[in-house]
């Protein structure tokens, strides 16, 4: 069971919709179901791990179309597709576009629940990653321009002495700026700092 997570179900067949809701909630997950992707779009998405169980063939916008729309909106919610008659090209298309799983009705309940678990896990780690980067960015923005300069030189492997020489300042000043920067970044060690800066550079 994953706390503080929600599974969205979109299927235009009411009996499938309610049975999916029942099945997913039977393992203690929070579920919300919708009869169309348009209805889901009207719901403001919560800031907690979530995933989508989506029927491929829907009246109105199809599941595959909606997958593209979510990607275009930069909304990386993991999707598990379910379909009445899935063909191979269709499932390839869905998986290439990043679907977590492609299940043909009727599916084994364990397969669906496993897929949901891994989708939520995926969304949770993406969110953690994003949060960590956002925190780092916030901390990094607390640094003065000079401190930023100093730690970028530290990370590139330069000694205090070399930094001082290059900046035309005293070694002690560099030491102070460096430790203040470490403190603001909440870095425990130089290795820790290097890891943080790398992470920030990767996102930038």
């Amino acid at each position: 069971m994953i706390d503080g997570a929600v599974v969205f179900v979109v299927d235009d067949d009411p009996s499938i919709r309610s049975s999916l809701k029942f099945l997913i909630s039977s393992v203690g997950l929070q579920v919300e179901s919708f009869d169309s992707v348009e209805a889901l779009s009207r719901r403001k998405l919560p800031d907690i791990p979530c995933c989508l169980v989506l029927d491929v063939r829907l009246q109105g916008l199809s599941g595959l179309d909606f997958q593209h729309e979510l990607a275009a909106r930069n909304c990386p919610m993991p999707i598990i597709f379910v379909t009445g008659y899935g063909d191979i090209p269709m499932s390839v298309q869905a998986m290439k576009a990043g679907a977590v799983e492609f299940l043909t009705k009727p599916f084994r309940d364990q397969d669906l629940l496993d897929a949901i678990r891994s989708a939520l896990q995926k969304d949770r780690s993406r969110r953690e990653q994003e949060k960590e980067v956002a925190d780092l960015k916030g901390r990094f923005n607390l640094l003065t321009p000079r401190e930023k300069k100093v730690i970028s030189m530290v990370v590139s492997g330069m000694l205090n002495k070399e930094i001082a020489y290059q900046l035309g300042t005293a070694e002690n000043t560099v030491k102070v700026q460096r430790s203040r920067a470490m403190e603001k970044m909440q870095a425990q060690s130089i290795t820790d700092l290097v890891r943080m800066i790398e992470k920030l550079n990767r996102v930038a």
Partner: protein
């Protein structure tokens, strides 16, 4: 010699195959007789003109004219004729010395001479002109007929699959959820009741779909009429000609004359036949080490019912002959697994039976019976 040939051609004209295909004595129809045992051939002058060969004609000399892509099928036609002594027909392309292509249709009727030796009497017709002028029209017409026959069945199958699958999925989900809650000692009676009500509703929905199909099949016999089974078979064979040709399947048939009429729905019977024929062709997709032969036969069974058999030299039934009639069972990558189920329902609705049996050494036979019209009406 020509007198003898004329006499035979006369006999041949009385045969129905001849009537159908070469009845009008068109200038581009040649004829020949052939004894496989001796290789002896007699021919009409027109035949020489068609092949653009000087006499004497031999199978080997004619063979040099066959279009390279059709040599295989040409050889197998004659090989098979030698071995089985059945009527045959075929259409092959011939490459003339000036590089033009002729489409020639051969229809051969098997007879026995005074000594009981197999002898074929055959007509060859140059259908090039007809093909060129009518090819597009023919293709459109037969494609339309084929698609409408197949799609009625295909659409029915697809809609059954979907309409039954949805409620089944609902039932499975609901039941699984109950099992999980029960496992955890967490199943509230109110929740259980709701789930069971949903299961009942879904199961009722699934069985309503099946009742609809049954009604669909039952309601159709309003259009039943007394038909000659051979006529229906002949109507269907051209609908499969594209599949036969594209997959290099040799068609042979033996239609027993004078069978009593059957009381059937023409379109439904065409659907069943086409389904069996296409299945047979598809069962031979992977066959490369032997001839792909489709054999259609009409006859009367020991009870006097009309019996139709469609035999292939394909991959056979395996050990699961009965499962072929199970809904959604299929051996094909793209199949729905409904064709035989529907076919069997249609035949049974006509008071007949449809079954499968293995062939030795290869392939399968799908046979069905239909009661004759007089008994069917009582």
């Amino acid at each position: 010699m020509h007198h003898e040939l004329e006499r035979q051609v006369d006999r041949l004209r009385k045969c129905e195959t001849w009537d159908r295909l070469v009845a009008a004595p068109a200038p581009s129809t040649g004829s020949f007789s052939w004894r496989p045992s001796t290789g002896e051939i007699r021919w009409s002058d027109e035949l020489c003109r068609i092949f653009e060969l000087d006499p004497p004609l031999t199978v080997e000399r004619v063979r040099t004219r066959v279009h390279p892509e059709d040599v295989g099928i040409f050889d197998s036609t004659f090989d098979l004729a030698c071995r089985t002594g059945n009527d045959f027909e075929g259409q092959h392309r011939f490459l003339m010395p000036d590089n033009s292509i002729k489409h020639l249709r051969v229809v051969a009727h098997a007879t026995r001479d005074q000594d009981g030796q197999l002898e074929y009497i055959a007509a060859v017709r140059d259908v090039t002109a007809r093909r060129q002028s009518e090819e597009a029209l023919d293709k459109a017409r037969s494609e339309l007929a084929r698609v409408s026959r197949l799609s009625i069945m295909g659409e029915l199958a697809a809609s059954i699959a979907h309409d039954v699958n949805q409620p089944l999925t609902g039932i499975i989900n609901n039941a699984n959820a109950c099992l999980r809650l029960l496992d955890n000692g967490n199943l509230d009676p109110g929740v259980l009741q709701g789930a069971l009500e949903n299961i009942v509703a879904d199961a009722t929905r699934a069985s309503a779909v099946l009742a609809r199909i049954r009604a669909f099949i039952k309601n159709s016999p309003a259009t039943r009429s007394e038909l000659d089974i051979n006529e229906v078979i002949r109507e269907v064979l051209p609908l499969a000609s594209r599949e036969l040709h594209e997959n290099q399947v040799q068609l042979q048939y033996k239609l027993t004359k004078g069978l009593p009429p059957v009381l059937v729905d023409r379109v439904q019977l065409q659907q069943v036949l086409l389904n069996l024929i296409i299945n047979g062709i598809e069962a031979m997709f992977t066959v490369t080490d032997r001839m792909r032969l489709l054999w259609v036969q009409s006859t009367a069974d020991e009870l006097g019912d009309v019996l139709v058999a469609v035999r292939d030299s394909g991959t056979g039934l395996g050990l699961e002959a009965d499962r072929f009639f199970t809904p959604f069972f299929t051996t094909k990558a793209t199949g729905m697994g409904m064709g035989l189920t529907i076919s069997r329902s249609l035949i049974e609705a006509h008071g007949g039976r449809l079954w499968a049996s293995p062939n030795f050494p290869h392939g399968a036979t799908f046979s069905f019976t239909l009661p004759v019209a007089t008994r069917g009406r009582s």
